[in-house]
């Protein structure tokens, strides 16, 4: 880390959260995973729950999440992060448990686990990063890929007759009675980051109430998979992803 002398008349207003380790992240430039890790760890810092937090890392780009988050972490098999988090929460009910999953993990191979976890109303936080593509394996089509979107396995765009429609799993789980707080946020702009951080804070606070599953979808980008620069990817996301996945709260506690 670089150190520079700061003039004495200056106040520190923002720095890397303590709970984020000093390990440089392996994510591609501009990836939304980094921001999501950062705001999640900021919330853990602000609530002072670093020692009571247990995270479950998925399979996907964020498979090394345990290297960056300085809380207790457990790696799960592909798609099973919410099931593993269920087990951890049942054994250690006083801990704050979250699972951190991508769209290939949560919405494809782990659909069953996700839906049943939320349906049982497990008191965990499920963080779902939706970038509409399998980023880690080379940009293949995911269930959340938009219609007409070009990926390495849909070179002519996704067609609904052959490949079905984009799976809006967040809307799906919002219908389930076990869900307590379901929201969809983004991390592409300062405003969106502030809102997403607030959502994380609510979700971890609600976990104390033992009322049900909190589910946060982060609509994210994949500059490498979409073959764009980070700035172009964010513009493309605003134009194409947000109409399909509108931001906002889908279920809020009454």
């Amino acid at each position: 880390m670089q150190t520079t002398t700061i003039p004495p008349e200056m106040d520190l207003v923002y720095r890397r959260p303590d709970t984020l380790t000093q390990t440089p992240m392996h994510y591609c430039p501009g990836c939304g995973h980094g921001v999501t890790h950062k705001i999640l760890m900021e919330v853990v810092d602000e609530l002072g729950i670093q020692e009571q937090t247990v995270g479950v890392a998925p399979v996907g780009c964020s498979v090394f999440a345990y290297n960056y988050m300085n809380v207790d972490m457990q790696e799960a098999a592909h798609g099973r992060a919410s099931a593993v988090a269920t087990g951890i929460k049942r054994i250690l009910p006083d801990r704050f448990v979250f699972s951190y999953q991508g769209d290939g993990d949560l919405a494809a191979i782990g659909t069953g686990e996700t839906i049943h976890t939320v349906n049982r109303g497990e008191n965990i936080l499920v963080v779902f990063i939706n970038n509409a593509i399998y980023g880690m394996t080379g940009g293949q089509m995911a269930p959340t890929t938009l219609l007409g979107m070009v990926t390495s396995t849909t070179p002519f765009g996704r067609e609904s007759q052959v490949m079905g429609f984009p799976l809006k799993i967040t809307d799906l789980v919002a219908q389930l009675p076990g869900a307590y707080y379901v929201t969809r946020q983004a991390v592409h702009s300062p405003t969106a980051v502030r809102k997403a951080k607030k959502a994380f804070r609510h979700a971890l606070e609600y976990q104390k109430l033992n009322k049900g599953t909190c589910f946060i979808e982060i609509v994210s980008n994949c500059p490498a998979g979409w073959k764009m620069t980070p700035v172009e990817a964010n513009e493309w996301m605003e134009k194409n992803m947000f109409p399909a996945y509108p931001l906002g709260d889908l279920k809020v506690p009454k």
């Binding site: 670089q2 008349e9 207003v13 430039p29 939304g32 921001v35």
Partner: protein, 89 residues
């Protein structure tokens, strides 16, 4: 206007430019040099930073530390400016 400054951890910056587009003062730019992982990192190219934290919020690498001057320093600077015959800022 309140003054601020940022410190960028050059060695972990990947030059994604998201902070450049989010800066309302347009005071950020890419450096001419590359860091050890092969990216051009972010530098302050103008001295009009206000310490608004926007760049640090969108930074995926958490590479930006933001500092802002104390309110007392701003007041002192303003009164010195007014005393020197300038208009109030």
């Amino acid at each position: 206007m309140i003054r601020g400054t940022i410190v960028v951890a050059n060695e972990i910056c990947k030059g994604c430019e998201l902070c450049i587009t989010s800066c309302p003062q347009e005071s950020l730019g890419l450096s001419d040099r590359i860091n050890s992982i092969g990216y051009r990192y972010i530098v302050l190219v103008k001295d009009n930073c206000t310490g608004c934290v926007n760049c640090a919020l969108v930074c995926p690498e958490a590479a930006i530390t933001v500092y802002r001057e104390k309110k007392s320093a701003l007041k002192a600077r303003e009164s010195a400016f007014v005393a020197s015959g300038g208009l109030s800022v």
